[in-house]
């Protein structure tokens, strides 16, 4: 089997569910065909067993010929061995196909989530993406898994019909005509089944979203004792899923009955006609037994084709969700111009804010929402008329902008893994450098408390750390990245005054010569800035040093920590 993951999952050519499944199949076509070959070999060997048994009865028993009996007995054994070998080989191909499709889709979904970045949460819920990544990839994998079996079944039906045609053209024709009718009748039941299944799938996705809430919200639930109500709501949703499941089962059972009934009736017809031919002397007893065997045996490939059709239909539904996700485009278009590295001024016309290149600017906003909005504009997370140097930022290459301008808010996330990798996303910093940036963020005590220091594996989102610790780790990470322009939104809101003072002092020194913008209303931070801008109701209204601005009534009301009424 070839190794997974494929270093490059490739790019699906056109984003429709059918094309996507076809694309996946084409990439695995060698294994699919090999699997189909084994898939044919297996039932053919199985189909020949009744024939060999029939011959053993006719030539060996009825004719009382010991050596023919042994010969045909040996052939039955040989067929069994071929079956055993081709069975497992086919399984191996099927698994390789399933995994190939599943892993490839996962890679594409991950790549797409990373590509969409900030656009992702605005366009699709986390639960939906997780449903795609957990359930839909499996469903798509199953379609590829079953493909070789489906092809094998179709070939088997043809082979059996041919053998029967050779022995008795009437019976062969009955089978040849009967099978398509059966498959058609079964497919009629598939449509309502798929409909109910996709409804079930939607409800399961809802339930998944509830489960997602547990990890994020358990602290909250613990704090106020909301566990019971939460469990109650989960139960309600779970019961809805249960009822949808029973609805699916109703159609499934009907389908199952039909899958037994139709081939069974075909068998009865074959037996009825065959027995008449025996009475007329056109057929031997052994042949009738063989015919019975064929007809019974036909139920298996018919059933498999019907199952394969259902699986492919489900995969089609799953593939639609995948392509819907893959079709999303980032909200922001990359501009054509490359960004040359130079310390330039940033100008935000919407607020009138000007950030001097290479200096430390602090921005005090009277409304917290303004800080986020201005930061998003400066870092181009929303489109605006912001200019960098003389260039409108929206004309610049987006990747260049991300490289030059880093916006860090308190929503920034830490990822699971070694702390070293987390603090140094580019993998360029040595221990010395990391120790320094952690120290600037006043986080040396966090490292000291960790059993393996920088090599400690941290939990998703650094959940084992307190809010203040996480905030300092995020800051250390931003400083290690060392971007041309660093925009920090309330970087010290969760730390104490002493720590904040240390950070403010070291931050200014660390960022000397580089552009730093800090959104904060803390006098400790503001006091360390080269220049402070007051943003009131979304507009820059005053500029100066912290000390100078303290003379401004609006500014003092916002930042001064007076003991009286706020």
């Amino acid at each position: 089997m070839r190794p997974f993951p494929d270093p490059d999952p490739g790019r699906p050519d056109r984003l429709t569910p059918g094309r996507y499944l076809f694309w996946l199949t084409r990439l695995e076509i060698g294994v699919v065909l090999l699997g189909a070959f084994y898939g044919c070999l297996w039932p053919v060997a199985q189909a020949l067993v009744p024939y060999a048994v029939g011959r053993a009865i006719d030539d060996g028993l009825a004719a009382r010929d010991r050596s023919d009996l042994l010969l045909w007995g040996g052939i039955v054994l040989a067929l069994g061995l071929v079956q055993a070998a081709s069975g497992i080989l086919q399984d191996r191909c099927a698994l390789a196909n399933a995994l190939g499709a599943r892993y490839r889709t996962l890679q594409l979904v991950t790549r797409q989530a990373a590509r969409l970045g900030a656009t992702l949460p605005r366009r699709v819920s986390a639960g939906e993406v997780m449903s795609v990544g957990v359930s839909d990839v499996t469903q798509i994998g199953r379609a590829l898994e079953i493909s070789s079996r489906g092809i094998g079944s179709a070939v088997t039906i043809v082979v059996i019909a041919t053998i029967m045609l050779e022995a008795s053209w009437q019976l062969g024709l009955v089978v040849l005509a009967g099978v398509p009718v059966m498959v058609w009748a079964l497919s009629l039941l598939l449509r309502p089944l798929i409909d109910r299944q996709s409804r079930l799938r939607d409800q399961q996705s809802e339930l998944t979203s509830r489960a997602v809430d547990i990890v994020g919200g358990l602290r909250v639930l613990r704090g106020i004792g909301g566990e019971e109500m939460f469990a109650g709501r989960y139960r309600e949703e779970s019961q809805r899923v249960r009822h949808a499941g029973v609805q699916v089962a109703r159609v499934e059972s009907l389908l199952e009955s039909t899958r037994m009934l139709l081939p069974g009736l075909l068998v009865a017809l074959v037996v009825f006609l065959g027995a008449r031919y025996v009475l007329d002397g056109d057929l031997t007893g052994g042949q009738l037994v063989a015919f019975y065997g064929y007809a019974v045996f036909l139920a298996v490939p018919v059933r498999r084709i019907s199952i394969a059709a259902g699986v492919v239909m489900k995969a089609h539904v799953a593939a639609r969700r995948v392509v819907d996700l893959l079709a999303l485009e980032p909200e922001l278009a990359s501009g054509p111009k490359r960004l040359e590295a130079a310390a330039s001024d940033l100008h935000d016309p919407a607020s009138g804010l000007v950030v001097d290149g290479g200096r430390f600017t602090a921005v005090a906003c009277s409304r917290p929402a303004d800080a986020d909005a201005v930061a998003d504009r400066l870092g181009r997370y929303t489109d605006s008329d912001v200019t960098y140097g003389e260039q409108p930022i929206r004309d610049l290459d987006l990747d260049d902008v991300r490289r030059h301008v880093l916006v860090v808010s308190n929503d920034a996330r830490l990822f699971a893994g070694a702390l070293r990798d987390e603090l140094d996303p580019a993998g360029r910093a040595d221990d010395h450098r990391l120790d320094r940036t952690v120290d600037v963020a006043s986080g040396a005590d966090i490292l000291e408390a960790l059993p393996d220091g920088l090599d400690t594996e941290i939990a998703p989102d650094g959940r084992e750390f307190s809010g203040g610790q996480r905030q300092r780790l995020r800051l250390a990470r931003a400083l290690t990245v060392d971007p041309e322009v660093l925009v920090l939104v309330e970087p010290t809101s969760a730390v104490d005054a002493h720590t904040e003072a240390r950070i403010a002092e070291r931050l200014a020194a660390e960022r000397t010569g580089r552009t730093t913008v800090v959104f904060s209303t803390s006098p400790i931070l503001l006091d360390h800035a080269d220049r402070v801008v007051l943003v009131d109701a979304g507009k820059a209204v005053a500029t100066g040093t912290h000390a100078e601005l303290m003379g401004d009534e609006r500014y003092r009301a916002l930042v001064a920590r007076e003991e009286g009424e706020a």
Binding site: R66, L70, A211, D213, Q239, A416
Partner: protein, 589 residues
Amino acid sequence: MSELPVASMRTVRARARRLALAHPRELAVVVALYALGAASGLAGPWLIGRLVEDVTRGVDDVSLVTALICGFIVAQALLTGLGMYAAARLGEKVLARLREEFVTDVLALPLGTVERAGTGDLITRTTRDVDLLARAVRYAIPETLISTLTIALTLGGLVIIGPLLALPCLVAVPTLWAATRWYLARAHAGYLRENASYSQIAEGLSETVDGARTVEALRLGDRRFERVNRDIAASYAAERYTLRLRTVYLPTIDTSFVLPVVATLVIGGLFYLEGMVSLAAVTTATLYTQQLLVPIDMLLFWMNELQIGGAALARLLGVRRDGGGAGDDGSDRPRPRADAVVGADPGRGVQVHGVSYAYRDGRDVLRGVDLAIAPGERLAIVGPSGAGKSTLGKLLAGVHPPRAGTVTVDGVAVGDLPLDRLRSSVALVTQEHHVFRGTVRDNVVLGRPAADDDAVEQALRAVDAWGWASALGLGTAVGSGGVELSPAQAQQLALARLVLVDPHTLVLDEATSLLDPRAARHLERSLAAVLAGRTVIAIAHRLHTAHDADRVAVMDDGRIVELGSHDELVAAGGAYAALWRSWHGDHSG
């Protein structure tokens, strides 16, 4: 990452047995329907055997026999369909219960266990494992039963036709037995590993999705791609292992199947040639043996699925207290549910004696903390980040039990309070904000589901949130997939939730840190009016809070180093005074 616990094999078996016996009537109906269906299936070969003999002798009973065959086919199809439906109904019932119990159990697990395990493991268990188990319950159990029944009935049929002809079947027994033993010894662990690898994949994806903006900001796309590739490689290794097991097992089994057919045919044929049995008997016996292949094949296939289902069940049961899964911080002790608490004295406030606590062994983050808080007092806790303030807050609210020492509320240890009593006594709102999937109203009434709209409005007004909340509408869906609320709004919701629960003691851990300072102070004061008379313990970096409090406790390195009113501490000129000066941006101190 550390996963949620997994139950032992023994627990799984015991639980599976209990589940099966919990619904005896339904299970009996399923088995009966399937058994009758399987029995109807046996009539076919027998009738054909007779037909062959009759028609070769020239006796014409074709119409009658065909009609009988049709009758049995219809019966088999109907009974099996009904059996399947009954099995699915039972299965869905059992599954829903397992899934719900799983979530209820997870909600009662130690916080650290759940958070370290992360979203991926949880989602994989509630979806993929439940699905696998659904397959096992819905198909594997009935199919195993039906196959076993079919095999028994067929063997019975063989013995009736001629005991001699049943003997050749025995040739398959030794290899089947040995191979199955070998396989079952390894399969469970293999499938557990496989499932765990899918948890990892889901966790990685969940991180990428939740942190999508950070991924963009730090250009982590390649790194996330490496992560999924690593997880895929691990999953592939797990898949290969179970595939290897099957590659040995399945061909051995398949070969074992064909032996009885050949043996019956050849040995039976020789018996016939010796005149010991009739032609019809050999024909029927060979057909029966051949027919045995399908149920035996099915039995083994579904036994494999049962293995997979067992592994899934082990993961679902792992979080149960009696499931062999252990928590990580010793808080596994069941919390009393009934009102079994005596000696509660509302006048005694919150008492902390010699409390120590460690998240990791040997690294105490709290060291012998003593603190007495009078009823109705407003205490502020300040100190450097990492000093243990939040941990103390969690211990006060009974989220974690202390490693050493006691925390009592009204004279009763918080660990001994039944959950409903505990929450009406002490509640905690932390800096972690989380908006639950649901409506605004759902989010507010989480701690008091019975609250009416008036109460909800009062609570929202108390936290200055009525303006935006009423504009949005109480029935508006928020949280994942709904309207996105700002962190400040999320904090207001959290506080409104607390107001509605109305405990006599509140622990507020940076509960207003995401609001701007003026709004925060306004909110704190409006909240104080609503909470008049309640004991409030506020952990804060904004020293307004400390200034407004009755007393201030200063923590450093896991200890309380200063305790007193704001004025006393400022006058004392110690750590708090320095902090106070520093907070005002006065760097002379």
